[in-house]
């Protein structure tokens, strides 16, 4: 304990000294740093902050030092997080490499792969995206068709991925590919790392109902991939795929645990019910606001309890399906409530008649509809809970 307190003090003073003032407190989405070859910094402090943090391995605090990670214990990592929150330090790097690929490489990668890829993730040098879904393989991921055929020392990859987040901005993609027979479907899948600068890779952004385009279609045509880019055993990719989905679900559901910069529901209610203080005048909306806040609170307490219970260090289990399911449903419900509060003012698309904040809420309301689909639909999560947690028969 004494050691931890010492660590807390060191950390605090290091952060106070090294976190640039402009990287503290709320910031715009456009200031987020995702790294990669094509990174550009709107704010030079962002670059500085990333360099300082990654030099200590603190962009990936619990990864081993030998792979450029922070080498921190869970307790130390928590302290780091608390101290960053205390100072309101922004994350130096947002990265699917850190949240999704890294944990998988640590568990399934060989020594060479860890040494090759992890440090570049820690330093934000490589931006990764995820090549899982295909047009015919959504909820039924294992029916995927992208084919990788060994030709000498290289795999030749052909096929199409869909829902690749930010594929158009990424350097590398981790892909599920079919290397073995179609049936049984799960047995012929491998996990392959592909440099997107390879000839034959192309991407097209997908426009969503919200007007945003965070996803792409990704096409691979005769793309040649060195065979050492295979992670885990040949045709053994499904185990890795499932593990990674658990990490992904945790990311998505954690995302809904807090919403930092936006106006709270209570603030929105006060503003749009025209009631700066005291009891809100519309009993029905007031009750819905209370209910939503209470449900969010219950969800937060459940995340907290789960964290305490799994402190021992296990990764996320099937319960991650619950968080993914419930978190996204709750988020959709919350946006519906916001729209009810804003009334017609929450139904603009663009132009003068609406405030920018209102337009963002409308767009994010539409965006929220995808949360219960991406990363495994709500229906898939419920299936997983029924089967894995409750043991209900097939």
């Amino acid at each position: 304990m004494a050691d931890l307190e010492g660590f807390r003090e060191e950390t605090r003073s290091w952060l106070e000294e090294h976190c640039p003032a402009s990287k503290r407190g709320p910031q715009a989405d456009t200031e987020e740093v995702w790294g990669g070859r094509r990174v550009s910094y709107k704010n030079p402090d962002s670059k500085l902050w990333l360099e300082r943090m990654s030099a200590r391995g603190w962009t990936a605090p619990t990864w081993p030092k030998e792979y450029a990670g922070g080498g921190l214990s869970q307790d130390e990592a928590k302290i780091l997080q608390q101290e960053m929150q205390r100072l309101r330090c922004r994350l130096p790097l947002i990265s699917f490499g850190i949240s999704m690929l890294g944990p998988v490489l640590l568990e399934f990668g060989n020594e060479e792969q860890k040494r090759e890829y992890l440090p570049k993730i820690v330093r934000g040098e490589t931006r990764w995206c995820q090549g899982y879904s295909e047009p015919g393989a959504g909820s039924d991921l294992a029916s995927l068709q992208m084919r990788a055929v060994l030709d000498g020392d290289e795999y030749v990859v052909n096929g199409q991925k869909i829902w690749t987040s930010y594929a158009d901005k990424s350097d590398w993609i981790f892909c599920l590919v079919r290397t073995g027979p179609d049936t049984p479907k799960h047995d012929g899948i491998s996990f392959l790392l592909i440099d997107m600068a390879s000839p034959g890779v192309s991407t097209t952004p997908i426009r969503l109902i919200s007007g945003y385009s965070p996803f792409c279609q990704t096409f691979l045509e005769d793309v040649r991939v060195p065979k050492q880019n295979l992670v885990g055993p040949l045709n053994g990719g499904w185990t890795i795929a499932k593990r990674l989905l658990q990490f992904e679900r945790s990311v998505i559901s954690e995302g809904f645990g807090v919403s930092p910069r936006k106006r709270s529901l209570e603030e929105l209610a006060r503003r749009y019910l025209d009631c700066p203080s005291g009891t809100l005048p519309d009993s029905l909306l007031r009750s819905r606001v209370a209910q939503q806040i209470m449900e969010d609170e219950c969800f937060r307490l459940t995340l907290k309890r789960s964290a305490e219970e799994t402190k021992a260090g296990q990764g996320p289990g099937p319960a991650s399906s619950m968080f993914k399911y419930y978190g996204t449903e709750l988020n959709k419900q919350k946006y519906e409530l916001m729209l009810s509060l804003l009334g017609m003012q929450g139904l603009g698309w663009e132009g003068e008649g609406f405030e920018p904040e209102e337009l963002v809420i409308t767009r994010e309301w539409l965006r929220s509809k995808g949360n219960s689909i991406e990363g495994g639909t709500s229906e898939i999560q419920l299936n997983i809970i029924a089967k894995r947690v409750l043991g209900l028969p097939d």
């Binding site: 959504g138 909820s139 009334g343 017609m344 139904l347 603009g348 132009g351 509809k369 689909i373």
Partner: protein
């Protein structure tokens, strides 16, 4: 009158279905949106609809209408709703047109309605002032000035107000805000000096306007109906418009459901159509029940308008609450059941969700109409 269609009505329904399919499928709305069409609908198409007699369906023959009823108009609106047709039935016929028909004197009717029925004149009702439907909450003032009136104040979310030729403006001539008394209607040329319009682009790709009246001077003849007594007319106009909107919503609900059902039968995952999964089946069956209920109440409400029944206001609120909830359910389920495809702009299914949300709030959401229903029932 029966809920079962007459032969004439069946013919009208088929014609409307065919016309909408050929001339104004949902792709049209996307095109208007993507080309950032400043009008947001097609004036030519509107003229064609007028020539087919649809615009004037409910107006008396003496004003160029067909002298038919809401049962008939409902059929057309339902078909239009299925393809999210953006032409101005709600603003021009149901709101503006009805205001002139119910409140106007013979001169006003003769001036306005034939032009409306001919598809040449677009109207809008400028009533709402805030982000919430609240018909007697009127602060825009009309003050006596010379022999006429001077209008000052602002309206918001005036449907099709950005292109309307004439506006029917609800103004306060006396009493306090929120009072049912003291309201008056005025017929105003939309391009008059002192009328400043800002377009509002809505999420459903339709348009409305924020309209400021800066001391607009009006002649006495601009008054529509009795001074200070507009509420009774306004109630009737809003009931008719609400029921008409519900018919449109019903069309959208049914179409979104139909497309979703087709998708459930077609889309395969795990080697079987996803419509074979029992959880989705039950949700689809639940939607079916909700839609059947919506259909019953909309048809009854249309009938009540035609029969000028005393329970028409109650039925209007019943229909709107029901359609709002059902469109919400179906719009959301449609997206979720379409999965990834459902959230892409490329798919048309998202347009229904967007229209559902706007239609839900327009002329009062379900909570508003439940409250109104309770008031009408006296509790």
């Amino acid at each position: 009158m029966s809920l079962v269609l007459t032969e004439e009505q069946e013919l009208l329904q088929e014609t409307a279905r065919e016309f909408v399919k050929q001339r104004s499928p949902l792709a049209k709305l996307r095109e208007l949106r993507d080309t950032q069409d400043p009008v947001g609908f097609s004036r030519e198409l509107w003229k064609e609809m007028a020539e087919l007699g649809w615009v004037g369906i409910v107006f008396p023959e003496e004003y160029g209408g067909a002298g038919l009823g809401y049962a008939e108009l409902g059929l057309v609106l339902e078909e239009c709703g299925g393809q999210l047709v953006a032409e101005p039935f709600l603003s021009t016929v149901l709101l503006g047109g009805n205001a002139v028909l119910l409140a106007g004197n013979e001169t006003q009717r003769k001036d306005v309605l034939p032009a409306v029925c001919g598809g040449e004149r677009i109207l809008a009702l400028a009533h709402q002032e805030t982000h919430r439907h609240d018909p007697y909450r009127v602060t825009l003032r009309a003050e006596a000035s010379g022999g006429g009136y001077r209008l000052s104040g602002e309206k918001a979310f005036v449907l099709d107000g950005h292109v309307a030729d004439q506006l029917v403006v609800v103004a306060r001539t006396s009493e306090q805000v929120q009072s049912r008394e003291g309201l008056s209607l005025f017929l105003v040329d939309a391009d008059a000096k002192g009328v400043i319009r800002t377009p509002m682009h809505m999420v459903d790709s339709r348009n409305a306007a924020r309209i400021r009246f800066e001391g607009l001077e009006l002649d006495r003849s601009a008054l529509l109906g009795e001074v200070g007594r507009a509420a009774a007319v306004l109630d009737r106009v809003l009931d008719r418009a609400t029921v008409g909107l519900c018919a449109e919503m019903l069309g959208g609900i049914q179409e979104a459901f139909k497309r979703t059902l087709a998708f459930l039968k077609e889309r395969e995952q795990f080697g079987v159509p996803i419509g074979s999964f029992q959880a989705l089946k039950h949700r689809a069956a639940e939607m079916f029940c909700q839609i059947e209920l919506a259909r019953s109440v909309v048809l009854e409400a249309l009938r009540a308008l035609d029969e000028e029944r005393a329970d028409a206001p109650e039925l209007a609120s019943l229909a709107k609450a029901r359609c709002a909830d059902t469109y919400f359910l179906v719009g959301n389920e449609a997206i979720q059941m379409h999965g990834g495809i459902g959230v892409t702009d490329e798919s048309e299914i998202g347009f229904f969700l967007k229209r559902a949300r706007v239609a839900q709030m327009t002329l009062g959401d379900a909570a508003y109409h439940r409250d109104r229903f309770a008031r009408l029932r006296g509790f």
